[in-house]
């Protein structure tokens, strides 16, 4: 039976629709053309005056895998404190964010809560940006238990011994490409991520920092070489998602130069620099920590092959969970509360998990907040910048509505700026930026752009044949309230959220990319696993059947048509 969404104001940047009034027809989970026979319409939603967008897509959010589970085990107090606070609060009181009796607006929600909190905000897909290949099964188990939304992830390479060994041996690009494709298949990923290129491995050899053009002490290859090789592999394999790069020197004062230099590492091929806020720091001023947002934004505007997401920080208690064991170990002294988990993992990668409290009266934190917003507002092309907090590293994803308001409402932004540490205020030009994001631009950043970047064929837009993931909002001047609580969310054509509350539990799918490759690559890998690894090659690989084993989930293989 056909559902009609009538008279909505449509924001669908993929089809250049900027607030046009149109009807949308849904049938069997898809958007279909206007039926010839009106009689088949079984349900009509009158959306007169409502804002209609595709379901939002979070292109970088740590929702599955070992790091988050370590955080959950290490930080039971987050959930406990939150529950206590909720018990005291009047639960019917309207909040800036949606609070239900089972609320979990803290940094380390369970998989179940993750799915619920996303869909309640109108998000219908989220992508785990750092699937460690050896840990991929766990990542998919966690994502498989995340209801309501579609999932997917980027497999982490660049500090794995097998790849670094290939680089040292000057293996040809085809061999690298086959390995990268094999990893995508084996880990059921849709993209490739590099974290502190070579650095996670270098830390295991007791190197404490690694610059872009500095050699790894054992393999004698540089991060630049890693990026060049992997960005080319991703490009030549023809997958849509550009190489996802967490640059060297995360969080270090003066790291903006590394970031600027990294932009040339792919030699003009597409590359995505993630959570760029954490990589945009200068060394000016008394405290030797300053904003380099202007330089970074200028370079982003110039370098059309680079895309980015911000990794905005927002004030409060969170936890930072990263594959970057090298920099997390260095930053462990800043952990708040003072504890950290650092791991070296399987000659493959590593991780570092530290709780963190961003405070508006702390000079560095206040400036980090301003730097993120400066970048958002100074990058001209909304198709090349994405809205993230690097959940949970900058802030929990549940703070997106607040962040959207900061971008769309200059008065609100300046009010918040005025509360910051005064020294930090003096070091930022944020109040001189007039720009306010439009609804159309928000729809680009959180829908059309994200879907296009990741290469999701049928998500992020409202074209005919698209997956019917649709969010309906009431247009309100308070954008935080508006984006916190959609009127309706449809997932695969079914109404799943009404007035910000889940009305039906559904299970999304897992998005992957499966480029063709030479299976001959397995011969050497098998030998490598037998000699050096501690698991069998066959057990490393995750089959489609495994993902769909529970009868709820299934694999969607996206084909890049570009």
């Amino acid at each position: 039976m056909i559902t009609l969404l009538k008279n909505g104001r449509i924001y669908d940047p993929a089809h250049q629709k900027n607030g046009v009034i149109e009807d949308i027809y849904l049938y069997q989970g898809r958007i279909i053309p206007k039926p010839v026979d009106d009689a088949k319409i079984s349900q009509i939603y009158d959306l007169t005056g409502k804002v209609v967008m595709a379901g939002a897509i979070d292109m970088h959010s740590h929702i599955g895998g070992g790091k988050m589970n370590i955080a959950r085990m290490m930080l039971p107090e987050y959930q406990q404190q939150y529950q206590q606070a909720q018990a005291i609060k009047n639960l019917t009181e309207p909040e800036a964010h949606i609070c239900t009796p089972h609320c979990s607006h803290h940094a380390v929600p369970s998989a179940t809560d993750t799915g619920f909190r996303y869909i309640e905000m109108g998000y219908t897909a989220a992508f785990e940006p750092a699937i460690m290949p050896v840990n991929a099964r766990q990542a998919h188990l966690e994502m498989g238990d995340t209801p309501m939304i579609d999932k997917g992830g980027y497999a982490m390479l660049g500090s794995d011994d097998y790849f670094l060994r290939m680089l040292t041996a000057n293996r040809d690009q085809k061999a690298i490409n086959d390995y990268v494709a094999w990893i995508l298949h084996a880990t059921q990923a849709i993209g490739i991520k590099v974290v502190n290129p070579g650095g996670i491995s270098a830390f295991k050899f007791n190197q404490r920092r690694l610059d872009l053009d500095e050699n790894h002490s054992h393999y004698q290859v540089s991060p630049r070489a890693v990026l060049k090789s992997l960005s080319r592999a991703v490009h030549e394999l023809g997958i849509a998602k550009p190489l996802h790069v967490h640059c060297n020197n995360l969080g270090a004062a003066g790291n903006f130069e590394t970031t600027l230099n990294t932009m040339s590492a792919s030699e003009g091929l597409p590359m995505h620099l993630t959570h760029i806020q954490f990589h945009s720091y200068g060394t000016e001023g008394d405290k030797k920590f300053s904003s380099a947002a202007a330089q970074i934004a200028e370079a982003l505007n110039k370098n059309k092959h680079i895309t980015t997401d911000v990794g905005q920080i927002l004030f409060g208690q969170t936890v930072t969970a990263s594959g970057d064991s090298m920099m997390q170990h260095l930053n462990a002294k800043h952990a708040n509360p003072k504890k950290s988990v650092i791991m070296d993992i399987e000659c493959d990668a590593g991780c570092g998990v530290l709780p963190f409290k961003y405070r508006d009266q702390n000079y560095v934190n206040a400036l980090q907040w301003a730097i993120g917003l400066e970048i958002f507002l100074s990058v001209e092309d909304p198709w090349r910048i994405f809205l993230t907090t690097d959940h949970p590293n900058g802030a929990p994803f549940t703070s997106y509505p607040h962040l959207i308001r900061l971008l769309m409402d200059k008065t609100f932004r300046n009010e918040h700026f005025a509360r910051l540490n005064l020294d930090a205020q003096a070091m930022s030009n944020l109040t001189s930026i007039e720009r306010e994001y439009s609804l159309y631009e928000i729809a680009i950043m959180t829908r059309a752009g994200a879907g296009k970047l990741i290469g999701l064929n049928d998500c992020g837009h409202l074209g005919l044949g698209a997956q019917a993931d649709i969010t309906v909002y009431t247009d309100q001047t308070d954008r935080e309230a508006m984006f916190s609580k959609p009127d309706y969310v449809f997932k695969n054509g079914e109404l799943v959220v009404k007035n910000g509350q889940v009305v039906k539990v559904v299970w999304g799918a897992t998005h992957t990319a499966k480029p063709a490759f030479d299976i001959g690559v397995e011969k050497d890998l098998k030998d490598y696993f037998n000699r050096y690894q501690t698991m069998q090659l066959d057990n490393f690989k995750i089959s489609d059947a495994e993902i769909g084993d529970d009868g709820r989930n299934h694999v969607i293989t996206n084909v890049h048509k570009g």
């Binding site: 959950r72 929600p109 099964r137 650092i342």
Partner: protein, 432 residues
């Protein structure tokens, strides 16, 4: 899928008998059972599992019954219960997923049979965190292995064979130097290298380990120590251990929370963590906590992502609560109003409880006191498939079903319980 080494009668298998989770086993499926690459613990596990009585039927008050009646009786018990305890929890990820679903519906408290040990690690993790490593890092990188209070092989038999005496490694490292402190002396032979090089064995009363570990930390921080011995170990011996650790490129410090029998062992684990952190100021070193078994890490991990908390947790109106002290089996089994005991890998007996007891477990489980309901289930990795976390928590491996069985899996039984519970609830609503 068969590997090249296999023939038609052979199948590869993953062994859930310990946390190493070896997946290179080859089983001969024709009688008599032969297992290639298995250790004594693995062979014992498979021999016991294959000879387990798969024809054993469920029972109610010790009298054989069919599955439907046993499920009905168990449902009645859970229906009447307001504060059930689900203990044992000897299962893998798929089983734990089902257990959590049932616990949510029945407001149950959850505790694993080895949590007296594993909670010590959890407490240390929650207090200050830690810096740890995984098996392939040990295999390819470790040049010094310090085992504190454990001989390692008793609980993880192939540790040395697979990870220490390997002749090939990625970075051409030397064969590691092995040091034991406070391990049972008669069991440290496994630490002798294939070339005959004996391990350094520092004999000590395990109850003195807290003192010894603190002394190691103090020595590493260059604190002046006036005593000549620490925990009756000569200071010079400890000085030499510290030197070896400092000079190592990648020292791995191994401990087993279950072998620390003294109270507040979490404080000693914290001291080990501090020692490792201090070493990492100048060189690289990492910890490797050994697990206790019966799916402890699978249960903790699945619990964490499903409820937000590791075990010892309790559900109330669908939401988990966490209390690592009060929600222990010891504290709860006599105040709970129903006990559901789960042990699928091994025939562990439930604790004797005054409340109605349901056992879903290994077919060969023997009882000192007959439970109200016993439902035998298949063994994951032998009778049923499953998913299991390795001791380093980074790797999850599939367990295979190796034989046909008529025994249901834990998940299937729980599914029936859930259906029966919702049916009786629905019936109640109707009559109301």
């Amino acid at each position: 899928m068969k590997t090249q080494q296999e023939t038609n009668d052979q199948t590869s298998a993953t062994c859930p008998a310990c946390g190493l989770l070896c997946d290179d086993l080859i089983l001969n499926q024709t009688s008599p059972l032969a297992v290639k690459n298995a250790c004594p613990k693995g062979i014992e596990f498979f021999e016991r599992s294959f000879s387990a009585n798969i024809n054993v039927s469920p029972s109610i008050d010790g009298k054989p019954s069919d599955l439907a009646s046993a499920v009905k009786k168990a449902t009645e018990i859970l229906q009447q219960s307001k504060s059930a305890l689900f203990a044992g929890l000897g299962t893998e990820v798929q089983g734990m997923r089902a257990v959590i679903r049932l616990a949510k519906k029945t407001n149950a408290t959850l505790d694993h049979l080895h949590s007296e040990s594993s909670i010590r690690n959890t407490l240390a993790l929650q207090n200050g965190g830690w810096l740890t490593t995984t098996l392939a890092e040990v295999k390819n990188r470790a040049d010094v292995i310090l085992a504190i209070g454990t001989d390692i092989t008793s609980s993880h038999p192939r540790f040395f064979e697979k990870l220490v005496w390997n002749t090939e490694s990625l970075f051409d490292k030397p064969t590691p130097e092995v040091i034991y402190i406070g391990a049972p002396a008669e069991k440290t032979k496994a630490g002798t290298a294939p070339d005959g090089k004996a391990p350094t064995t520092i004999t000590a009363d395990p109850n003195h380990l807290p003192e010894i570990v603190n002394t190691l930390s103090a020595l590493l921080c260059k604190k002046k120590i006036h005593a000549q011995t620490a925990g009756s170990v000569a200071l010079s011996e400890l000085v030499s251990v510290v030197e070896k650790l400092k000079n190592a490129k990648y020292a791995v410090i191994v401990w087993s929370a279950s072998s620390f029998k003294f109270s507040h062992a979490e404080l000693t684990i914290q001291s080990i963590v501090q020692l490792i952190n201090q070493l990492n100021e100048t060189t690289r070193a990492a910890g490797l906590p050994l697990n206790s078994g019966d799916g402890d890490y699978s249960v903790n991990n699945a619990s964490a992502w499903l409820s937000g908390y590791p075990t010892r947790s309790r559900f109330k109106n669908g939401r988990a609560d966490y209390d690592s002290f009060h929600f222990s089996t010891k504290k709860q089994h006599n105040i709970a109003d129903a006990l559901l005991w789960i042990s699928t890998f091994n025939p562990h007996e439930p604790p004797i409880s005054h409340c109605p007891t349901i056992v879903i477990g290994h077919p060969d489980t023997k009882f000192e006191r007959t439970p109200d309901v016993f439902i035998p289930v298949g063994i994951p990795g032998v009778d049923h498939t499953g998913l299991m976390f390795r001791m380093d928590s980074s790797i999850t491996l599939p367990l295979k079903a190796l034989q046909e069985t008529q025994l249901p899996s834990l998940g299937e039984v729980i599914k029936q319980l859930e259906t029966a519970l919702s049916n009786t609830q629905a019936a109640k609503v109707k009559t109301a």
